[in-house]
Amino acid sequence: MQDFIPALTELYDKIKAAMPTLLDGLQVTLYIFAVAIVLGFLIGLVMALFRLSPIKPLQWISKIFVDAIRGTPFIVQLFFIYFGLNSLSFISLDNTWAGILTVAINAGAYFAEIIRAGIQSIDKGQTEAARSLGLDSTQNMRFVVLPQAFRRMLPTITNQAIISLKDTSLLSIIGVADLTQRGRVVVSATYDPFTIYLLLGIMYFVIIYLLSLLSSYLERRFVLR
């Protein structure tokens, strides 16, 4: 018991010392995640609509994009965008934007498939009813099909968002000062990988847990009727 209290105090001090650095990193992680997920969702929506459009070349673009991204590792995509594209003289991306772009494009390919499946899952009678009233195909998508499809997609969208959030930790490899990279910095200063990486894991877990709570709240809020 005598040894327990000092050990606890020591742990507390360690965490307290590490926290400011880790919270800086967390802020960067959340910023990158927020921008990348919005961008990724827009990419996914456009690619899904391309895929479902009657225009063949648009279908091809979407199919090639989705296959290329799904068929290659995230790290290779990251290196290609950060080192590969930057080696071209007319492109200059800092590591944060290269990271955001990679996460967005990667998530975009998966979102494209999720959104396509979501749209196709809506009964075609819905479209027929909308079109028979005189709504054009854009109005049908916007007011009738997409609102229903998004409710149905919410759980899968959350799932992909969680995967993308975890993918952001790989950006530490190209030197983005995210939560994982900050953690490594603290570890090299304290020589305590056990405590710091455990702490890092808990921080990621809490964020992801909050994300899934938000998702189930939204699911309840927009019950499919």
Binding site: D123, G125, Q126, E128, A129, A130, R131, S132, L133, G134, L135, D136, Q139, F143, V144, P147, Q148, R151, L224, R225
Partner: protein, 242 residues
């Protein structure tokens, strides 16, 4: 001018020819019931009238406009042609009121306030005013179909198409829906009704069209078609359903 003129309409799905050569004319305020065995092409015929099915060959004129001509705006033409489906196809994420006001508001036919006023008037007509704030999932089949009729009427169509409107309903719900359709017919609406309700066709129809094998086999006033069918196929079909 006739409301609908169908000239040598043909419709194929891949290699299967569903409508082989159909021509007919529907006059304003006429109530035409289309009957025939399942798979005869009667629903396909109806769905060609507002181009929910792409027409393979021939012409369909609605209000004088050829809907097979891509120069004519099909969305505009459809605003004049209401349609009611077997499976209702109400928008489940919208209230009854929103279902009815969506098209008139988005297509700028009515202001939101006027569209709502009109929606309540139509709900009164189909006897469902108290369901305005309900979602389709909370309604019975018969109520859903009556809302679907109100939704189609909100665009002030000149023609109403009904695709087996009572086939998915429990028997005790059928009467309410048919009553609404009878009222419409009395008000002078031009109606084309694909139906298995021979009683309705006999009572309300001005003319009955019997379709089989992709052709109009016989068409006549109900009394003649039901009482004195001319063709063998009509006789054999009627002997099974009457």
């Amino acid at each position: 001018m006739s409301m609908i003129r169908v000239e040598n309409l043909k419709k194929s799905f891949g290699d299967i020819e569903v409508l082989k050569d159909v021509s007919t004319v529907i006059e304003p305020s006429e109530v035409v019931c289309v009957i025939g065995p399942s798979g005869s092409g009667k629903s396909t015929f109806l769905r060609c009238l507002n181009r929910l099915e792409e027409i393979t060959d021939g012409h369909v004129f609605v209000n004088g406009q050829d809907i097979t001509d891509n120069k004519n705006n099909i969305n505009k033409i459809r605003q004049d042609v209401g349609m009611v489906f077997q499976q209702f196809n109400l928008f489940p994420h919208m209230t009854v009121l929103q279902n009815i006001t969506l098209a008139p508001v988005k297509l700028k036919k009515l202001s939101p306030a006027d569209a709502e006023k009109k929606a309540f008037a139509l709900l009164d007509k189909v006897g469902l005013r108290e369901k305005a704030k309900a979602y389709p999932g909370e309604l019975s089949g018969g109520q859903k179909q009556r809302v679907a009729i109100a939704r189609a009427l909100a665009m002030d169509p000149k023609i109403m198409l009904f695709d087996e409107p009572t086939s998915a309903l429990d028997p005790e719900m059928v009467g309410d829906v048919l009553d609404v359709m009878k009222d419409l017919a009395k008000e002078g609406m031009t109606m084309v009704v694909v139906t298995h309700e021979m009683g309705f066709a006999a009572e309300v129809g001005d003319r009955v069209i019997f379709i089989d094998g992709g052709y109009i086999v016989e068409e006549n006033v109900p009394k003649e078609l039901f009482g004195n069918p001319q063709h063998e196929r009509t006789k054999s079909f009627l002997s099974k359903v009457l």
